[in-house]
């Protein structure tokens, strides 16, 4: 039994190109992710931006706009232009907006985009008008205030809301994309089991034909092949985890045992998935490959790999969908474990993964049962 396991294992790892890509592909992919995501959220949306002013530039609003700073960086770079010139620049997206001053106390904002700069500009102008109204309101009701220092005590930039955090862990949704790569890596490794099962079938490979006439029981052959494939898939996933944790410094929390359990269950489903598809499309290797790619990519997309917002769109509109998506289940297992610091929270996901494993493996057994050959 041990000797047979040794040969199966050797036979699987002798597929050098397959092994190379199974180990290397997730590492390359996660490095791309790291390059891209490490910069997101660091960009400064408060850089100075250009605003055209049409009308009286001696207006108090314009003077205030010229002085506004955030983190010592000037917010607005004002350009005094005619309406025609400013509209031209607006069309070329060279300015964020046009502030038109009419009758000295009426302002109008002209924009042609709905980005952060336009929102900052709009909020600034509205706030300015609100403050003007406030001062008028107050002085109308209580004119004596003019003789006090009330105006100087006014503050509009005070932050009244303190930020709190319920978890010590960052609820950073970018981490979801990294976790989807682990799940994707698990499922892309199902090529190994798909390749493995096809080589032990008598009607597909010569090796399989020789095995079928050997004294080994077919059930034993399949179990040993399953264990060998599973071992290789788990090894490639763990190599990826080590790379992500120690080289890229991506957080997983301090739960080595549960992390290994998630990897084990994920690899189990992936191995069974490879078996299932390979046996479903017997002799059609190209179709098996295309199905593995298509299904894994759709699952990864819906789990939030290309953008975590997709995951939340699915979560809020079709919450049951994630229980049909093994990549989302593995991703959510890692994320809940990391965020809640509790293994119990990811048990429902692991339960759903085990149900999937049972479905795939039962399907595979159904396809394998009763295969007998009079001649090959």
């Amino acid at each position: 039994m041990l000797t047979f396991f040794k040969y199966r294992f050797k036979s699987l790892i002798s597929e050098k190109s397959l092994m190379f890509w199974s180990l290397l592909f997730p590492i390359i992919l996660v490095s791309f992710f790291y390059l891209v995501f490490s910069n997101i959220g660091k960009e400064n949306i408060f850089d100075t931006f250009n605003v055209a002013i049409v009308g009286n530039k001696e207006n108090q609003l314009i003077k205030t706009m010229d002085e506004v700073k955030y983190d010592d960086i000037k917010t607005f770079e004002l350009q005094y232009l005619t309406k025609e010139d400013s509209l031209n620049l607006l069309n070329q997206k060279k300015i964020a907006g046009i502030v038109e001053i009419k009758n000295n106390d009426e302002y109008e904002l002209i924009i042609n985009d709905n980005g952060s700069k336009q929102l900052i500009l709009e909020e600034f102008l509205s706030n300015y008008q609100q403050k003007e109204l406030l001062i008028n309101d107050v002085l109308k009701n209580n004119p004596e205030l003019l003789t006090t220092n009330w105006l100087e005590t006014l503050t509009f930039s005070k932050d009244n809301v303190s930020n709190k955090s319920l978890s010590e862990k960052s609820n950073n949704e970018m981490i979801i994309s990294f976790y989807t790569v682990i799940a994707l890596s698990c499922f892309m490794s199902s090529f190994i089991s798909a390749n493995g099962i096809s080589t032990i079938q008598a009607n597909i490979s010569k090796q399989g034909a020789r095995l079928s006439v050997s004294p080994y029981h077919k059930r034993k052959i399949i179990i040993i092949d399953f264990i060998a494939s599973l071992l290789i898939i788990i090894s490639s996933v763990i190599t990826l985890l080590i790379y992500m944790n120690f080289i890229l410094k991506i957080e997983f929390g301090n739960h080595l045992g549960p992390i290994l359990i998630i990897c084990f269950v994920g690899s189990l489903v992936s191995t069974a998935f490879g078996y299932f598809l390979s046996l479903l499309f017997k002799k059609k290797e190209g179709l098996t490959i295309a199905m593995i790619i298509a299904m894994t990519m759709s699952w990864s997309f819906l789990a939030g790999m290309m953008g975590p917002s997709i995951k939340y769109i699915i979560e809020s509109n079709l919450p049951f969908m994630k229980y049909l998506n093994p990549v989302a289940l593995i991703t959510d297992s890692f994320y809940t474990l990391y965020y809640y610091d509790s293994f119990a929270m990811c048990l429902p996901y692991l339960g759903a993964l085990i149900v999937m494993f049972i479905v795939f493996i039962t399907g595979a057994i159904m396809f394998l049962r009763g295969d007998q050959y009079d001649s090959i």
Binding site: F25, I28, N114, N127, L134, K158, G286, I292
Partner: protein
Amino acid sequence: MIVFKTYYKVIFRNKMQIFINLFICLFISIFFATSNNEANSFDRSNFKNINVGYVYKDKSIKNTGLVEYLEQTFTLKEISDDDIKINDALFYRSVDYVILINADSYESYQVPNSSAGYIVKNYLNNYLNTYHSYETAKIGGDSKIATLTLKNLKTTTKVINYQSDDNIKIKNMGKFFNMYVYSLLGCVIVAISLVMVTFNNNHVFERTIVSSMNVRKRNLLIYLGHALFGIFTWLLMSIASVVYFKEQSLSIQHLMLLINSFIFVFPVTALAFMISQLIKRYTIIGAVNNVVTLGMSFISGAFIPQALLGGIVIKIASFTPAYWFVLNNDRIIELSSFDFSNLFQPILIQIAFGIAFIAIGLAFAKLKNTTTLK
């Protein structure tokens, strides 16, 4: 002609897997291009999509006014004062921001780096600072101050927005065309690799190189097969763009996006030709396809806008044709006049990449022939 015929025989034999892949790529592209994401979260018309959870610990007149004010802009959801429930609400994003309304203080929980958090907090502070200003002026009781604050905050600057619904749809169309990096590359690499596994099969390959056909002619015919398949894929995707964005179809931006994406077919098929020279096994197609398509899509700005990518990423990406394709798409959707001068350089760079990939692919093929003959 025999090479060409064989090529399409192999394509036809693999029609099912090519169709599945094409369907998935189209589904992902359309879903991604039309889904609501961070890029348009600063649009005021989307503020009602921001869910704000609040824990109402103190129902004073001031705080009732605050809730009324926030309700005018955002979607409010009352949450019980339970840490687990607040945590769950933020984890599953049923809310984007949670505010704890106490008697004298206000605390918030939010998703890091979220624009929604920044916007809601700005609104909260605006109300509280305005209320405080009226309060210090001592012009009436709480009720009067709350009424004046709410009335004051209704004052907004008149905004004329030239951005029409059409512009928003054109932006979505730009996102759809940016997704060509993923879909076109994904479809073409998988299909071409499936075909080339057959052509690169040792027995077939050995028989071919001893035939009377010139090797260079054979490779060029194979590339012609790739190019025609690439154009066919492009055509299907472009028909999808016409059907999906029917109101904007054949607008100047749409036509320019079509031209740019047609040019992009050349470097894509050339890249697939180069890669396919190295693929001999079905089983590695998935890994190669994912590394190339996902890697290129991420760094070129197909999934995440180029403006959000770091300097190093942009530098690396500029060594790929996908970066120049996305750059041109972004320029096209911003086009306001018939000034196409800055679109030519990225187009020429894409063509140069295509030529380089073919040259490398032919060099690989020559090396393989020599090695096999030895």
